[in-house]
């Protein structure tokens, strides 16, 4: 396979970083999974340009970069709508586009969601660190020397020419997750829900919570009615492992949804977001509201089967009726 330079970074955007589906198997060393927060969008972007669905993409946060194509190349943009354009002409999202050498991709501004995913036909040629190309921003490894995209970076891809034939392929409109400023997130209660009062649980499940500005890839901080714990239990617990989607409640009663950059936590966990709704958490931004809805394990697996079904059927070339 020939490695070819595909893009030069003209401007990096607010926080653009390389992510694949994440780094697993190093939890005992305190190494978090990292990876794309909206894995659904990442997988579809890759499939659109003919990549394996686990390939690394650019995860673009709120404000997009400006990239110049160094060769003819296929790209697809999914996730948040940042109004991607090529030489100032709008590019439809969830579609594979062929750029000519010298074309410039830029983003005109956020219309919905929080993070876009840009897949390059032939992927992003980078070494895997501990089994993944994902950037661990806090410990500074993986991705592009452990950091976000910088002006002047060159991205390379494996045999991009082999992916030019994907041009025009699109993901079915009916399966594209809609963007909204008010989100409904399904959760399974536990493991320490019994240590909150009835009033606390009612607040958690019955009222919307606002996304705070100090949210990042480690966690979404929420503000809203206090989630009261039982008077006999302390503020913290003996630290233990957490997964992304775990909802911790510190002493101030304001919940934090753990995302992908940590493996342990020392606060009580009232609930955990179902796997099928994790991609949605990647599209939540400061100022949005989140409502929690309790479901059963069966509901959770049914929801997962549904979202996996979309990806699997797309892989098989099936489209739903419009």
């Amino acid at each position: 396979m020939a490695t070819v330079e595909t893009f030069k970074v003209v401007a990096p955007g607010l926080l653009t970083n390389v992510q694949d589906r994440g780094r697993f198997g190093y939890g005992r060393y305190g190494v978090a999974p990292s990876g794309a927060l909206d894995s659904f969008s990442l997988r579809v972007a890759n499939l659109l340009v003919g990549n394996p669905e686990n390939e690394a993409c650019l995860e673009i946060t709120l404000m997009g970069p400006k990239l110049r194509a160094l060769t003819d190349v296929a790209i697809a943009v999914t996730g948040a709508d940042l109004q991607a354009s090529c030489n100032d002409r709008p590019l439809d999202m969830w579609t594979s586009w062929i750029l000519g050498k010298g074309n410039t991709v830029s983003f005109r501004g956020l219309k919905g969601g929080c993070r876009s995913y840009l897949a390059i036909g032939g992927g992003i040629s980078l070494p895997e660190v501990m089994g993944s190309k994902s950037t661990n921003l806090s410990s500074k490894f993986g991705g592009l020397d452990g950091g976000p995209l910088r002006k002047g970076n060159i991205l390379s891809s494996n045999s991009p020419y082999l992916h030019l034939k994907t041009g025009g392929s699109t993901f079915p409109q009916a399966w594209i997750p809609p963007h909204a400023k008010e989100r409904y997130v399904r959760v399974i209660l536990g493991p320490q829900d019994d240590q909150f009062t009835g009033k606390g649980k009612k607040a958690f499940l019955g009222t919307p919570y606002q996304v705070s500005p100090d949210s990042d890839r480690t966690g979404i901080r929420l503000t809203g009615p206090m989630i009261e714990r039982r008077p006999e239990v302390g503020e913290s617990i003996i630290s233990e492992g957490v997964v992304s989607g775990t909802i911790q409640v510190p002493g101030d009663g304001q919940p934090i949804i753990i995302l992908v950059e940590t493996v342990t936590g020392g606060y009580r966990k009232i609930a955990t977001v179902v796997t099928a709704d994790l991609p949605l958490l990647g599209q939540v931004k400061p100022g949005d509201t989140v409502n929690f809805k309790q479901v059963s394990l069966d509901d959770a697996y049914k929801a997962l089967r549904e979202s996996e079904g979309k990806i699997n059927r797309f892989k098989e070339g099936y489209s739903p009726p419009p």
Binding site: F24, R28, Y29, G190, E240, V242, T275, Y301
Partner: protein, 253 residues
């Protein structure tokens, strides 16, 4: 796709049955499981911080490492519990439970290796340990005595967490037990050695932190290109020793 649907169909059926057995908490073979969402389970091997309980967590980690379970994607051992993360598309919860119980039976036969002891150099005080004076003041003692107490104890690494390679160590001598800082710092420098409650930690990378910083080590605690990637592992023993600022600057890294 049909394969996946069939598998999930089965899983759906199994979980309908299992839900009565599992709930949030269930005890079996002396193991307490707690479901955390639809793809992880916490095994509790005790309810407090103690060397014996932590040793069992370590044993379970070893048995899980030596007998990988198909569909388990990661695990996080902690003070008294072990989090198992699985892919619900590859393994259903009932099958996971059976395999965990099998491993639990094997666990006691596992010989855990003798832990290594790691000596860690620390520059105490000045800009390297901005809370040293406060801690001495809090305990109505001298800076020298705090250093003597901190270096005079051998600590067990109970778990690695928070950031890569970040060790949670205990037990501090009783006369050094200190509450957390009222206001956590947003940027604790890399290598900072800190204490709070009965714990002492080292920050491998710059990060926020709510513990009192006594000093700083020049050692690298995490290197993603080494195997293992961390200087310390769960079960290790640690002893700190004081060095001068000049030595810190010249320490080989």
């Amino acid at each position: 796709m049909r394969g996946v649907a069939r598998h999930l169909g089965k899983l759906l059926f199994v979980s309908l049955v299992e839900i009565h057995l599992w709930g949030t908490t269930m005890s079996s073979h002396g193991l307490v499981y707690r479901i955390m969402g639809d793809r992880s389970v916490i095994l509790e091997l005790g309810d407090k911080i103690s060397p014996e309980i932590n040793r069992r967590v370590r044993q379970f980690s070893m048995v899980l490492t030596e007998n990988p379970v198909e569909g388990v994607v990661d695990f996080v051992p902690a003070y008294r519990s072990l989090l198992i993360i699985y892919d619900p598309l590859r393994i259903d919860i009932a099958s996971l439970k059976h395999q965990i119980e099998d491993l639990h039976r094997k666990m006691d036969k596992i010989q855990i290796p003798v832990p290594k002891t790691v000596e860690i150099p620390v520059v105490y005080g000045s800009e390297f340990g901005p809370d040293l004076e406060w801690v001495a003041h809090y305990h109505k003692t001298t800076i020298g005595e705090v250093i003597r107490l901190h270096t005079g104890t051998i600590y067990q690494v109970y778990m690695i967490g928070f950031t890569p390679g970040h060790p949670y160590m205990a037990d501090l001598p009783k006369s050094l037990i200190t509450p957390r800082r009222e206001t956590p710092r947003t940027n604790v420098p890399q290598g900072s050695v800190a204490i709070a409650m009965n714990q002492t930690v080292i920050y491998p990378v710059e990060s926020p932190g709510g513990l009192h910083i006594l000093g700083r080590t020049p050692l690298k605690l995490f290197d993603p290109f080494q195997s293992p990637p961390t200087l310390l592992e769960m079960g290790d023993w640690v002893r700190f020793f004081p060095i001068e600022e000049e030595e810190f600057k010249q320490w080989p890294r």
